[in-house]
């Protein structure tokens, strides 16, 4: 954990010195049985050595920040996109190869059905993966920037980042579509926030409603 929380420049720093607690445990035990203190009448070898233990602030369910999480998020959305697109491509490919008209066309192109199917899967899979990946990159980028800028990481960041992602993704398609994109982002983010905060909302409801 020590190395995993350290920054990348420290990754190659020699973490090996005589101050390393793993190297020099100041006990003399086992062999000559000289305890540390006369009051400590058991072998101190059985004491757990110091290992980093972490106490997280209450309510911090997420142990890692947005930046550490970003790459995993992007990777997951990429792979999910590839899987979804691949399945969709398989479906489309199967449907089109079974259609008679297309079959003649495929013969004319000298493509046998498997190759054709593979092309369908690859094409749609990569397209969906790219789309979802780009969305995830945008969302993570905004999220990281916001959490750096505001110094806190909360639901507002999620909402803003999602809305900005929607706006940016559709920014070249005209004002109307841009707005729709932003609204979709906001809607999805609100749903997500409601889902994660449902316990707290439950608490509010019980507090404020007389029933």
């Amino acid at each position: 954990m020590e190395s995993s929380t350290g920054d990348s420049s420290g990754a190659y720093a020699p973490s090996y010195s005589n101050r390393d607690p793993g190297m020099n445990v100041p006990v003399h035990s086992k062999q000559n049985l000289a305890p540390l203190s006369p009051y400590l009448n058991f072998d101190p070898v059985y004491l757990p050595q110091s290992q980093p233990e972490f106490i997280f602030p209450e309510g911090a369910s997420r142990q890692r920040g947005r930046f550490e999480l970003a790459f995993s998020q992007i990777g997951v959305s990429c792979m999910a996109g590839a899987a979804i697109g691949g399945i969709g491509g398989l479906y489309n490919g199967l449907r089109s190869t079974t259609l008679a008209g297309d079959y003649e066309q495929s013969e004319a192109l000298n493509l046998f059905p498997l190759n054709r199917l593979l092309n369908y899967v690859m094409k749609q899979g990569s397209a969906t993966a790219n789309t979802l990946g780009v969305l995830a990159v945008m969302y993570s980028g905004f999220g990281v920037l916001l959490s750096w800028g505001r110094g806190s990481d909360d639901e507002l960041n999620t909402l803003t980042a999602a809305t900005a992602t929607g706006l940016l993704y559709k920014s070249t398609a005209g004002v109307r579509k841009c707005g729709i994109g932003g609204a979709v982002g906001l809607g999805l983010a609100s749903l997500y926030c409601l889902w994660t905060a449902r316990d707290r909302l439950q608490g509010f409801r019980q507090e404020y409603s007389p029933a």
Partner: protein, 263 residues
């Protein structure tokens, strides 16, 4: 050292009537001459450079086109501008002649500086690459590199029956974990004491049941090879047992006047 080769070029290679052949320059071995084909309609000038090899007996023999340059300047813009080709400085004069001079006009300082800087960048790149490859090869193939010490000691640990018993097979080894999930870097420390080189190393092993930490120290012997000073495995679970695989600290060959921790 200049020679008029106009008629020759016109007769032999160039049929276009609009071509004007200018005075060219010849050195002992290479003749460079230039042909300007003017396209008056588009006010473009094409300049084709020819180079030829001159044989001592028969004069010019082979002429081949080496470069075709298209200048989009109008001709008036073209005057008085120096163009460089193969170390030859060209200058159009008002009268439409091309002055060529070879090493008469020194190559401007800017040009040499540019060439020198390119050369410097290339040399620096080659040098850095060479250093990196040297490091990689030393790490991978030298018997005294941390990587090979890690490899051999890991094999030794995995063969030890006590280690197998307590950790459970299969045993795998890895170094410090970075944030990106790489565990390739094995922490080590080279140090020198009394003129003798030492290498201390720490890495982790994991079997099917438990994890352990391997500590080892190598000492350079008289032949310049590394010998184990000690090598032990400390288990990471509760009683933190140590399995000492090698402990040569107080061997006859390796003994010192005083052992280290009593210094």
């Amino acid at each position: 050292m200049s020679k008029l080769i106009g008629p020759f070029a016109r007769r032999k290679f160039l049929s276009c009537s609009k071509i004007r052949v200018f005075e060219a320059l010849c050195t002992d071995t290479v003749v460079t001459f230039d042909v300007v084909k003017e396209n008056t309609l588009k006010s473009l000038s094409y300049c084709r450079f020819y180079s030829s090899e001159k044989k001592k007996t028969s004069g010019l023999t082979k002429v081949k086109s080496t470069e075709m340059t298209k200048f989009s300047h109008t001709k008036t813009e073209f005057f008085g501008v120096h163009h460089h080709f193969a170390g030859c400085s060209l200058k159009w004069t008002r009268s439409g002649n091309l002055l060529t001079s070879y090493q008469d006009i020194p190559v401007p300082l800017k040009e040499t500086a540019k060439t020198a800087s390119y050369l410097g960048v290339i040399l620096a790149g080659v040098g850095v690459t060479a250093v990196i490859f040297y490091q990689v090869f030393r790490e991978l193939f030298s018997s005294k590199s941390p990587n090979s010490v890690y490899t051999t000691s890991l094999k030794k640990c995995c063969k030890d029956p006590r280690v197998i018993d307590s950790l459970g097979e299969p045993i795998k080894g890895f170094g410090e974990e970075t944030r990106r999930g790489r565990r390739r870097h094995v922490s080590h420390l080279f140090y020198e004491r009394d003129g003798i080189n030492f290498l201390r190393m720490k890495y982790y092993i994991q079997g099917s049941r438990k994890r352990g930490t391997v500590h080892l120290e190598m000492r350079e012997n008289d032949k310049g090879d590394f010998d184990y000073r000690y090598l032990f495995v400390q288990l990471d679970d509760y009683p933190r047992n140590t399995i000492i695989i090698e402990d040569n600290r107080y061997d006859n060959q390796m003994s010192f006047d005083k052992p280290f921790d009593m210094l």
